[in-house]
Each structure stands twice: as C-alpha cells, then as structure tokens.
C-alpha cells in the first residue's frame, strides 16, 4: 500500500502538488466545558476561529490540497468550512473534510493511509496551530534527504524558544536529541517536569554519533512533514496513538531494525504556536494581539467581514463599536463590531467579541469575552473566559480562571469563585464527546434565576484549571521553580486522555523541598554550600556588601542558580554569622544588630517583593530551627528586617500564612516569639494588602 504510494510518488515529482492534513480534533478535552458544544478548532482566538489561522498558515506556504480530520462535532466543522472561503472555488487549495471514527491521531493517520489520499510528501498540522513560518526550506531539506534515502520518512519543524516561554508548552519538557550533522533526531523523550532531567539514551546512539545536540528549548507545535512511507509505519503498528510519544519514539526504537530516520528542521524566525491548553490560549492571544504572529494580527482582518483597525497601544476596534464617553479601553484589547461599552467601564488587556453589551462601571481585566455576551453594571471580570451568549448580571464578580460556558446566565450579585467552570451542558458518562445533555441549574453557583451549574472535574481534567491559573501567572513565577509544569499534570502527551497523575497544588512560590530533587539536588546543594560559605566569609571579614554581592553574582552565573537559592544562601549565611557572633558572647539582639544592618544591601539585593520576603523569612526560619536561640534570633532578625523595611507587612503575613512555616512542631516553636512583630506589621499594612490581593 504505502510502497505503491511511493512508486506513484516518484514519477509525479515533476508536478507534485503540495498536500496537507489538518487534525482538527484534539482528542482530548482541555477546553472543557467549551468543547462540549464546540470543537476546539472553532473556538475564537482574538475573535477569529482557530482553524482560520491554521488554513491561512497552510495557504501561506503554498499548500494546494488539504484534508481535514475531525472526530467530535464533525458536522460543525464541516458546516463551518463549507461556508468559509476555503471551500469556495476561489480558495487557494482544495479542501476536503474527512469523516472518521478516529479517537486518536494514530487512527486518523491509519485511516488516511487506507484512503491513500496522499500522493507524495505532505504536511501534517493540528487544527489549532498558528504559524507564519515559511516552510520552503524545511520542504526542500526534506525532499533532498528523501532523494538520498527513502528512509528519511519525516521532518519535524520546531521553533526555538527560551527554556521558559509563555508560548511554549509548559508541562511537557520535550527533549530532542539531534545529530547536528544530519539534523537527524536520534532520540526523543518527554521529561516529566520536576523529575530528574535524566534521559536514558541508548548507548549505540552515543556510539554512532560524533556530535549530538540535546534540545529542550524548542516549541514543538506539531508541524510535521511526512512521506507516505510514514503513513505505512502508522498502519503497521496499531497501538500508536500520538505522533511524538508513540510514532517518533517507536520509529527511533527500531531504527536498528528498519533504519528509518526522522529529522528535525529548527527555525529561529517566524512564529509558531499551538493552542492546546487554555494557558496556551492565553499566551497565544497575547502574542497575536501584540503582533508577534504578524501578519496574523486582528487588523489583518483574516475573515472578509472583519474590519479591525489598530489604534495606539495595540487596541483593535472593529467598525461600529460604541464607547461611552467616560469609558476607557486600554492597551492590548480587541473589540468586535457593534459591541457597546457603558459609562465609566474600564477594559484592560481583554478580548471582547461582537455584539457584546458591557454595562456601566464594569471592570474587565485580561478577560476573554466571546460574541453576544452581556455584562451587567458594576460587574468585575478578572482573567476569565465568558463564552457566547453568556450573561453576567449586575455587580457580579467573576474571579480569576473562571470559565463561563455558552449561554450560561449568572444572576446579579453572584461571585463566581476562582477556577470554577460553569456550564449548561454536561457530558453523558462514557467518553463519546458528542453525547451531551443539559445539567440541572445550581443556584449556589449561578445565583437565583441564573442558569448553569459547576462542571465537576474528573482527575484527568484537573489540569485544565491549573492551566488556566498558570496562564495568568506572570513570567517570574513560571521561571523560578517548575510549579507550572507541576500544575498541568506531567503526563505523556496532551492528545491523550488516560493515565493522568493527580496534580499537586503547591503554593505559588518555590517550596524549599522543590529545590531539591534528583540531580538538580546535587548542583543546588553544591551552589548553596559555596555561596553561603563565601557570603559568610565576607561577613566575617567585614567585607563591603557590594563586594560580597559581586562574588555571589559571579558564583550565581557559574552555577546558574535561581533567585530562591541565592536567598537561601544569604539567609543561611547571615544565620551563621549571627550564630557565631553569639558564640563569642553577644546577645542575640546585638548579634543581629551587628550582622544585618550594615549589610542590608546584600539582603535588599535579592529580597524584594512580598513573595521573596516571605520566602527569605522561611529560609531563615527553617535554618534557625537547629541553631542556638533560634527563636530569639528570628524575632530580632524579623524585627530588624521590618525596621529597615527589608520586609513589609505582606512579606511577614505571607510567611506567617504559608503552611510550610508551620509545617513542623519545631518550626512552630522557632517562629512563636516572632508573632507580635508580624501582627503589628500586619495591621499597619492591611489596606494595601486588600487592593493588592484583588489586583493579583
């Protein structure tokens, strides 16, 4: 079968038409509850359905023939496409929606193989990809390789990105081992986040290759170039479900036997992203709105009936938007046609669909509001998604991460708690996605007269909520500690529904424990030892804080340590200094007084926001547990720190609240004496705390 395809493939070369497959179904449900009613690829991103972006991307690389695979909601997909310009005879490529019973990418591929649509090499993408990468180079390279050996069956197109990138899939650390000579991918693995980054590379790989790159800094948005041969591979092994975990992995496994090779094409220009989690949705929207995906920006008006205009500060308005005089729409927002904003309302960083009615004095931040939604006066909407035709009553408060699904009606004055997901429909038991039924309205959630209920999550869906949450977290949280990857549970691959491990819900900053796992543990320990030693020396020799600071900085660069480690090192060093002052007979008070104030710059340098302060205190505390007069010292330190305002009310508060600070009896004991300081600082700063908390 496959060989035949190849045979016909050869002569065709000349006028070979470029074909592509869109896997429109995600075969998973990270977008619950929305995906109950709509296929993911029709969800709108910046008011344009995802599939549009995908098709654009394909058109822009000159694809001539497209097959769309879709599992659930196929009819919707079909109807949409039938009315879209992609099926008109003016469309740049011919498009066919393939109905299949596939429940995984694997099935789709096998089906494709049987149907034998594919004449030659083809591109395979998901229905939720946004990319403006020119593929010519990749295709050429691929072709060239295939000329040389027909075993080069696949090329993966990958985009470089830093290790932590808002647009990058946060919860699978996909690790590619590549032979730079041939761009061959010789090993692929998905490292469980927060587990030791140890790869088990078969040693022959290491033997055969002079030079290998290990890349974990790549955005893999599933743009692959297959040969028909590859399809054959799919067909040969029926258990394969996912292109990476199964296919790539599998093919590489039996390289020895079949000698088939998979290659990578790494690009460092252009944009590529997959909207496969709500978090990715959030990130990608940001990218699109702030023009990283240029030319795919709202004001490009991909859809013919759109009329977005860019205004200063990346505000996009479609014709006929009605803004009350006193309303303000500030940076990075998109407003759809015929949407009206009431007096005194403030829209920030939000996407609002068409024909929405936003009441008076409404505050909307980082929210995604789809078409025809209405929001009552004085409502507050934080980072949340409000789906089509949903309505939010007066004085409602939609908290961060809440998802309000289609047609849900939140009665006035109701507060929707963080990360609750309100919907009208629910899925019949069993995984047939299309089987949905109306659920019973739950007044406790949507209030009297409201419509909808909370969709309770099965284990495997948990991570959606985490994803949302993660999505709104700002970079530095994502950067220190792998909390995020922790959030979205570290299972294999997201096309996958099964075997999700329950997710931990650790607090929003690095726990001490989290610093020490597996191999990292060793490095960190090493760094910690060195750093704290040198700081301690510095303090002993009464060196200038800046100097110590520099020393520290240098070490940090070498060890590539994280902020929290620095803090820890500093904390410990100070404790040691103090301890040893006490040994020479000073009282805790004196000791602290001599140790800290002159060197406060050192602390200020690495301890800034409340979060960091809390962490710092935590480190102090935990370290003091096993030191003489620990509690006394802690009290004094806390006092001094507060006095020199190196820490403020928040810091102390957070620290005090933090479970880890009262984890064990001795911890409790140590911090006991410090309580007064905390309280006193606490109330002095309560007010700001309030506002901060809801700014968060």
């Amino acid at each position: 079968m496959a060989p035949k395809a190849r045979k016909t493939g050869e002569p065709l070369e000349a006028e070979e038409t470029l074909q592509a497959v869109i896997i429109a179904d995600s075969y998973e449900d990270r977008f619950l509850p929305f995906t109950l009613e709509r296929p993911r690829c029709l969800l709108t991103l910046a008011n344009t359905p995802l599939i549009e972006y995908t098709c654009e991307s394909l058109a822009s690389v000159g694809v001539q023939e497209v097959f769309v695979y879709s599992g659930n909601h196929t009819d919707q997909v079909e109807t949409y496409l039938d009315n879209s310009r992609w099926t008109k005879d003016t469309s740049p490529f011919s498009l066919e929606v393939v109905r299949s019973t596939s429940t995984s990418v694997g099935d789709a591929m096998r089906d494709l193989d049987q149907k034998g649509f594919m004449k030659g090499d083809f591109i395979c993408v998901y229905g939720d990809v946004i990319a403006n990468i020119p593929l010519d180079a990749a295709l050429k390279a691929h072709k060239a390789r295939r000329e040389m050996s027909k075993n080069a069956i696949m090329t993966m197109v990958l985009r470089e990105a830093g290790e932590y990138h808002r647009t990058k899939d946060q919860h699978h650390r996909r690790c590619f081992v590549i032979d730079p000579e041939t761009d061959r991918c010789i090993h692929y693995e998905q490292v469980r986040p927060r587990t030791s980054p140890r790869l088990n590379i078969p040693e022959e790989v290491l033997k055969d290759h002079v030079e290998i790159d290990m890349r974990e800094d790549l955005i893999d948005c599933g743009i692959d170039i297959y040969t028909p041969d590859a399809l054959a591979q799919w067909s040969d092994s029926f258990d394969w479900k996912m292109p990476r975990q199964d296919f790539v992995h599998g093919v590489l496994q039996d390289f020895e036997t079949f000698g088939r090779t998979i290659h990578t094409h790494i690009v460092n220009e252009g944009y590529a992203a997959r909207v496969n989690t709500l978090r990715a949705y959030d990130a990608t929207t940001k990218d699109v709105v702030s023009r990283w995906a240029f030319p795919y920006c709202p004001d490009t008006n991909l859809l013919t009936d759109q009329s977005y205009q860019l205004q200063k500060g990346n505000v996009y308005k479609e014709d006929g938007v009605v803004l009350a005089r006193s309303s303000t729409v500030s940076r990075k927002s998109v407003l759809g046609r015929a949407t009206s904003i009431g007096e005194g309302s403030v829209i920030t960083n939000s996407i609002i669909g068409r024909r929405c009615v936003i009441g008076r004095r409404v505050r909307i931040e980082n929210a995604y509001i789809w078409d025809d939604a209405r929001v009552g006066d004085d409502a507050v909407i934080e980072t949340a998604v409000i789906a089509n035709e949903a309505s939010v009553g007066k004085k409602c408060h939609i908290k961060r991460g809440a998802l309000v699904s289609y047609g849900v009606n939140i009665a006035k004055g109701v507060t929707v708690e963080e990360n609750t997901r309100v919907t009208k429909l629910k899925r019949k038991r069993g995984y047939d996605n299309d089987e949905v039924c109306r659920g019973v309205t739950d007044p406790t959630i949507v209030g009297e007269g409201g419509e909808g209920f909370q969709l309770e999550l099965d284990e495997d869906e948990e991570d959606v909520y985490e994803a949302v949450l993660a999505g709104v977290q700002d970079m530095d949280l994502m950067v220190d500690g792998d909390e995020i990857s922790d959030f979205a549970s570290g299972d294999e691959e997201d096309e996958y529904e099964y075997s999700r491990e329950p997710t931990s819900r650790s607090g929003s900053f690095t726990s001490i424990a989290s610093d020490e796992s597996g191999e990292t543990k060793r490095d960190m320990a090493k760094f910690h030892r060195e750093a704290s030693d040198s700081i301690f020396d510095g303090l002993q020799r009464g060196q200038d804080p800046d100097h110590i600071q520099l020393e520290l900085q240098a070490q940090r660069l070498t060890e590539n340590a994280e902020d929290s480690q620095i803090r820890r090192a500093v904390a410990v060093a100070f404790n040691r200094r103090i301890a040893n002052l006490i040994e020479v007979g000073r009282t805790a008070k004196e000791a602290v007084a001599t140790a800290i104030p002159p060197n406060q710059r050192l602390i200020k340098a690495c301890v800034k926001e409340a979060r960091e302060q809390a962490e710092f205190l935590l480190f102090l505390q935990t370290d003091l547990v096993h030191r003489a007069q620990g509690s006394k010292v802690l009290l004094n330190v806390a006092f001094v720190l507060a006095g020199e305002d190196m820490v403020d009310g928040d810091g102390l508060e957070q620290w005090w609240e933090d479970p880890r600070s009262s984890a064990s009896a001795e911890l409790e004991k140590v911090r006991a004496e410090t309580k007064p300081v905390v309280d006193q600082m606490g109330e002095s700063e309560d007010e700001e705390e309030e506002e901060e908390s809801d700014e968060e």
């Binding site: 470089e160 890349r215 900085q553 660069l557």
Partner: protein, 498 residues
Amino acid sequence: MSEQGQPTEHAKAAEEPKVSPAELKKRAKAEKQARRAAQKEQEGATGEVPPAANGAHQDYTAQKQSGQQDQKGKGPQAKGQPQPKPSKQGGQESKQERAGPSTQSMPVRGKAAPTAPSKEQPKKDNTVVELLSHLYPVQRRPNLIGVSKDVHPAVLALGLQISTYEICGSSARCVAMLLAFKEAIQAYTTPRDTSLPRHLVSHHLSPQIDYLRSCRPLAESMGNAIRWLKKLIVELDPDKPEHEAKDLLCEEIDRFVHERITVTDQAIASSARNQIRNGSAVLTYAKSAIVEKTILQAHEQGTRFRVIVVDSRPLLEGKRLATSLMRAGLEVQYVPFSGLAHVMKDATLVLLGAHSMLSNGRLQSRVGTASVALRAHKTDVPVIVCCESVKFSGKVALDSIVLNEIAPPEELLLSSPAQPAVHPTAVTTATGKEVSEDDEPAAKLKSLHDWSSIANLRLLNPVYDITPAEYIRMVICEYGSVPPSSVPVVHRLANEGM
C-alpha cells in the same frame, strides 16, 4: 535585582544538555579564575561604590571577568566561536541570550572588540571616513610591547579593558583609573635627590596617563580627576615623609571617588526623581546609570508612571536598561530608534544621561541623543539631563564632527536581534557570516562582513553627538538644577575651584 537574570538561566539551562560536563567544569574554572582576578583588582574598589553605580559598576567588574577570559581565550564567547555549523543554532541562540538582556556583565561591545585589531591595522586608509579622519585613533589596542616600563601593571590591565570597551561609561572609567592610580602611587618611591610633589606627577604619573590616553581618548571626568590629582600632589608639603604622603593621596582619591561620583549619583537621582509625576510617561535613550537610578527610585517611592526606552544599534544598551526596569516591575515600552517619532507624541518627559556637558551648554552624549532631544523640543516635551559635575567640561563644541570618537566599525556588523541565530557569532567567525547568507536570495552575494575589502565602502560608527543647548530645558547635577547656560559656572565652581 537586575543581576539575577532569568534569561541567563534559560540560556544556561538551554545549553546545559549540549555542553559536556567536562566543558562545564572548564567554564566554571575559567569563570572562577576570572572572578578571582576581578576580585584582586577589585580590592577596596567596591568599597567606595554603592549599588547605586550598579549598572555601570557591575559592568565594570564583570567586564573584568570577561576581559580575563578573553585573554585566556576561555570566555563564553571565545568558546562560542569555533562552532562550525548553523545546526548549532541552539548553542548560538543561547549565546545570543547571554548577549541579550542578561548580559549586563558583558556589554555588546565586548564581542566586537576581539576582531578589531587584526581587521584594522592593514588597510586603515580605505576604512577611514576622510571627513572624520582626525577622530580615528592612531592605534587602537596598544600592544604591551613598547609601552614604557614605568607603566604600572594595574594601569596596563585597565588600559586594555578600557580600549576593549570592557569598561565603558565615563564614570566607571574614571573610578577605575583612580583606583589604578592608587596602586601606582603606592608602588612609587621618590628618587634620592627630589621630592615627591615635584617628581611624582611628571615622572611617574604622566606615563601612566599617556598610556591610558593612548588606549582610548580620556573621558572628561577622567580629565577633571587627573587635573585634580595633579593639583593635589603639587600642593603637598614637600617635607611630608613619603609613605604619609602616599597614604594621604590614597585617602584623598578615595574621598574624591566617594564625594564626586558615588554620592552625587544619589543626590542627582533623588532630585531628578521628583520631576517624574504620577501618570507621566518618561522617555529615555540608550542607558545611563543615573537615569536608571532616578527611574527606579521614583518607582520605589510609589510614583505611578511608565517608561519609554528608545534604543539604537549597535550597542542596544537601552535593552539592558529596559530589562532592569522591567524586572523592577515598571511598565516599560521598548522602541527602536526608528520609532522615535511615534513614541515622542505620548511622552511627557525626556530624561537623558551625559557623557559630558560642554561649556557652551551643549550636551555630549551617546550618538542619537541629539535627535531625541530635537524631536522632544519640537513636540514640546521637556528635556532634562542628569550629569555629575565631574563630567562638566571646559571645552566647547558646535557640532559632533570635531569633538567625537569613532568606535570600531565592526560593531555595526553585529547581527540584529531580529534573527539571533542566523549570524549570532557573525562578528567573530567567518562561519557566522555564511550562515547569514544562506537565507538571503543569492548566497553568492557579498556580505557586510567583507566590507573592508570593498573599495569606496566605509562603515562609520561615531560614539557621541552634540545636542544644542536650546533643546535642553534643565541640567540636574549634584549642586541642583541649572539651565544649560550656567554649565560653565558650575564647572568653574566644581572642577577648577578646588
């Protein structure tokens, strides 16, 4: 705290898998040595310099590291170069990262430097722009041979770092110089038949100074400092025993550094920050330690405002500024020089740093400043210059042609941030160049990297320009705020008065 650069982490982490542990150790070692070295020269130095000078100052030290590394050929860049193939993008990219915001420690200049000498010596003639030929250094990067033996090693080292731009920024250079001089002075012994005040300057100090001048034209601040120092020495009581005299000198120098540079920053920043009000949009250009400090302080004292950072090739210093501000939690907008016209409309205040204030009220500062000031002036946005009085100068200048400095043209070859990995190491390696060509229409085409081989083609990379006084509303120095017209007054008071 700007040092704890996330990107560095990424970069590092990103390359972790690729560099063998052995390599890792090597680098670690290299860096450690560097650090030690840095520290050695550092002794005492940091004492005077508060985190205030951070921006400049870290550079200054960290640069030392990289300096050392370059000499040992072990520095990260050095290692980056031999990478043969584009396929190593990862590696390069992460290098890029290091060159990016995270690199307060290694100003982009650092990279350009190594290639400079080799490229320059042979065909100086057709690389010089006649119009400005007077500005080209006789010989950049003096080779240690032929330097008079009187030159103190500390000064020698400093000279190298200055000439390779590892220490740049006029305050940083000034501080570094004085510290070096301290060592030089300590090492000095008065010959029999003469007395320290009479002999020291002429016979011991001047060779040092000349040497430094030969490395890179002295900054105004250095000039002032030197003048001050000479005066001080000459006025010493001849009968004072030598060691006392030397100690005295050293103390004085420390005091000078402290009073004239360290503290002044503080003073200026704290008066300048009051110019920033709630809701204002502060526009600044390139990177100035004082401006940075001012903005940060204003932010700390709770003023709500946003910052617009305009930046320009080749140095992209503004990016470093933007990074540190963003880390401090400010709302930052970053604009390439070409976007100037657009952002100026929204700006309510323009804060500029200075290389030096000239006696006719004109400002000498990073090239491009003049355009910014002009645009601001036209759109009626107040322009404020923050400048320590050490940088005030007796000189006058009408345009940027006579009084200026030419940086090595190679800097212009730096790959644009647009495509980092395309020619990341371009400056230093031939391979980098090829890479860059591959994705241009015709690979056969010449690239900018063989510019020097093309007759009639010149690259010109001036360092400063002169901003006319009428564009400047206010100059803030440690003595307070003055109109540009009274610069000479302050100069006499501050730099000649003593």
